[in-house]
Amino acid sequence: MSTTQEIEIRDTAAKVAAADELTDVKGEKMVLNMGPSHPATHGVLRLRLEMDGEIITKAEPDVGYLHRGDEKIAENMTYNQFLPYTDRLDYLAPLANNVHYVLAVEKLLGITDDLPERCQYIRTICCELARVSAHLLGLGAFAMDTGAFTVFLHTFTEREKIYYLIEALTGARFTTSYTRVGGLSRDLPEGWLDELSKFLDEVEINFDETETLLTRNPIFLERTQDVGIITREEAIDFGLSGPNLRGSGVEHDVRKAQPYMIYDRFDFDVPVGTTGDCYDRYAIRILEMRESVKILRQCIADIPGGPINVDDGKIVLPPKEKVMTNMEELIHQFMLVTQGQDAPVGEIYFGAENPKGELGFYIHSLGGGTPHRLKIRAPSFVNLSILSQLLPGHMIADVVAILGSLDFVMGECDR
């Protein structure tokens, strides 16, 4: 006679729930796992919240769900080869990442001052356009988190126009890989600047409309004002940067503090908040976009003609016709493609104002075409570090608002 044994097979989720129960705090507290797939976490952030009712008593962010090993990959690539990976860092503003990465490499190569004027202007346009595009999405997602879904689609419509411009400029909607060490992959297409200025007129209307939907909306104000206050000291202590830092009243913008490229030539303000709450961070983004539009207008007015690449065959690929005819250019082409730019031994850090904050590249070179170590200082990662300090005491609905207002991108956070 055989005996049958019943084996209980439970749902994996139930098992995990049972495991979670063990870590549950005794009594009235409850542990809530937010993410990694949750509508408010903008990708794959995971928050482990300990709650007393709806109030959070402890928050532990858990990052790394999108850790792709970018920094390690960089060690095996020439400087130009790594460029596409920078697209996918802050994937809301690929153009700005491109520019800042090549600026870092150029600093390593020591050719920062050789860059032609036109190149600098186009790069500035790229950065500011990327800032507008990133802030538009940031605002939309923030609004969506507080429940105003339509604002998101509204801002995304403007983003589509930027995509159109970017596509005309770079050939890709999204992952641009536009810049090259020592220059750009191509010049502006014809008539592009006119379209840009047309877009600038339209986008300002959109800002106004977005503001009518949100800025004085009493519900939005209730949700964001005096919520998630980061004091000036906290912001500095945690090393925040970008709009999140300026929302707390610290007037620090890398574009002003350590002007790079040609930012010292433009007339623009750095908006600064007063209380450091979610609303201030929102308002700063809106104002910053308006400032970006201002810079873009100045760029369009001042942009000179001329070459877009450094005149150095060891840095930039020579034109094709010369490669086919000249020996020297052929060798340069060969060396650049196989070996990459020959960087000097040394280490540099270059930080620049990305839409999310200070994006820094630390490159340690032992010479040769590849970096020995490339470290990315991702603003989102640093900005998120404040969460465990900021969230306790807030309600679960505030978590959503705070996450939205911090406007992080897991791509660069986890790298």
Partner: protein, 350 residues
């Protein structure tokens, strides 16, 4: 058959008639309306957001609800292993039924043939409605409890507090209406408004409070705490799938229809349209149907408002919602009652 029927007491005949009317009304009018309000929601939201909306399924996307509904029926009916099964199955039904029952006392027209155009003409109609509406909280609370999962649990807790709170504001807001009318029967309320003195003009504060409370009772934005998508994923129905989820989904729209109908009756004069001369009890069938049409037209107005607001506003936070309910609307409603009482005392008092 007829012998058996005539042998029954009038009360029993009334009960059987009512049940029959409820079934007819639910299956031929309410359910299609519910289904198409979902389409309306999707199309109107698309309009607001500069999109097109569902247009591939059938002409103008009109078959979209059929596709969605039948897909849900054919989907696997899944119950999580750790759910409390009986309540898990019970909750969707409990969520759907109260909204449909509410419609039983709503007079949607004056006279259709020889029948009064109301399913059950109770003389405490409004109290019945509130009683039934107050039961609708069970669907959500049970769903939150039965899912045995944290997000639904939070949704359940939120909704039980929210709905009880706003019921009070809602109940208090209609008291002045009945003080003016002097009767709890909903048909009497309409009779009172026949002359064109719609109560929205006489009691605007009551109307506003009722409207806001209606948003809260139906869990629509800006008060959709229990299911707040960006916070609680799906709230109380996170763990629900297939037809059970569809029942919650449709229950929300049925509840919207129910409160819209109540608002039409209480504040917009029901089926009357005084400035077009349509304020007398219908004598012919065509007239009766026209009045039903007017009623539905007014109802759709409110449905449109519900949908429009949902896509325009952000959502409140849980504690703000309770603050508004208890600290603003309840005192305001009480003040409104007092003012109305003083007014009545001065004008009609002895």
């Amino acid at each position: 058959m007829t012998d058996w029927f005539t042998s029954l007491t009038p009360n029993e005949q009334f009960a059987i008639f009512s049940l029959l009317k409820i079934m007819i009304a639910v299956f031929t009018v309410v359910l299609p309306m519910v289904a198409y309000s979902v389409v309306a929601e999707r199309r109107i939201s698309a309009l607001i957001q500069d999109r097109i909306g569902p247009n591939r399924v059938g002409p103008f996307g009109l078959l979209q609800p059929a596709a969605d509904g039948l897909k849900f029926i054919l989907k696997e009916d899944f119950t999580p292993a750790y759910a409390r099964k009986v309540y898990f199955w019970l909750a969707p039904a409990v969520a759907m039924v109260p909204a449909l029952l509410t419609l039983a006392v709503i007079p949607f027209g004056s006279q259709l043939g020889s029948q009064k155009a109301v399913i059950a003409d109770l003389n405490v109609g409004i109290l019945f409605t509130f009683g039934i509406v107050s039961l609708s909280v069970y669907g959500i609370v049970l769903a939150g409890y039965a899912s045995n999962s944290k997000y639904p649990f939070l949704g359940g807790i939120r909704s039980s507090a929210q709905m009880i709170s706003y019921e009070i504001a809602m109940g208090l807001s209609v008291v002045p209406v009945f003080m003016l009318v002097g009767d709890l029967n909903l048909s009497a309320v309409i009779d009172y408004q026949k002359s064109g003195a719609w109560l929205i003009l006489k009691q605007p504060i009551a109307f506003v409070i009722f409207l806001v409370a209606a948003f809260a009772e139906t869990n629509r934005l800006p008060f959709d705490m229990p299911e707040a998508e960006s916070e609680l994923v799906g709230g109380y129905h996170t763990e629900y799938s297939s037809m059970k989820f569809a029942l919650f989904f449709l229950g929300e729209y049925a509840a919207m229809i129910a409160v819209s109908a109540m608002m039409v009756v209480l504040f917009l004069g029901g089926w009357t349209l005084p400035f077009a001369g349509l304020n007398e009890t219908a004598t012919s069938l065509g007239m009766g149907l026209l009045q039903v049409g007017i009623f539905i037209g007014k109802l759709l107005l409110f449905m449109g408002l519900f949908i429009w607001v949902r896509w325009m506003l952000p959502r409140f936070r849980y504690d703000q919602l309770m603050d508004i309910g208890w600290k603003r609307f309840v005192p305001l409603a009480i003040a409104n009652i007092v003012v109305t009482a003083i007014y009545l005392y001065l004008t009609h008092g002895k």
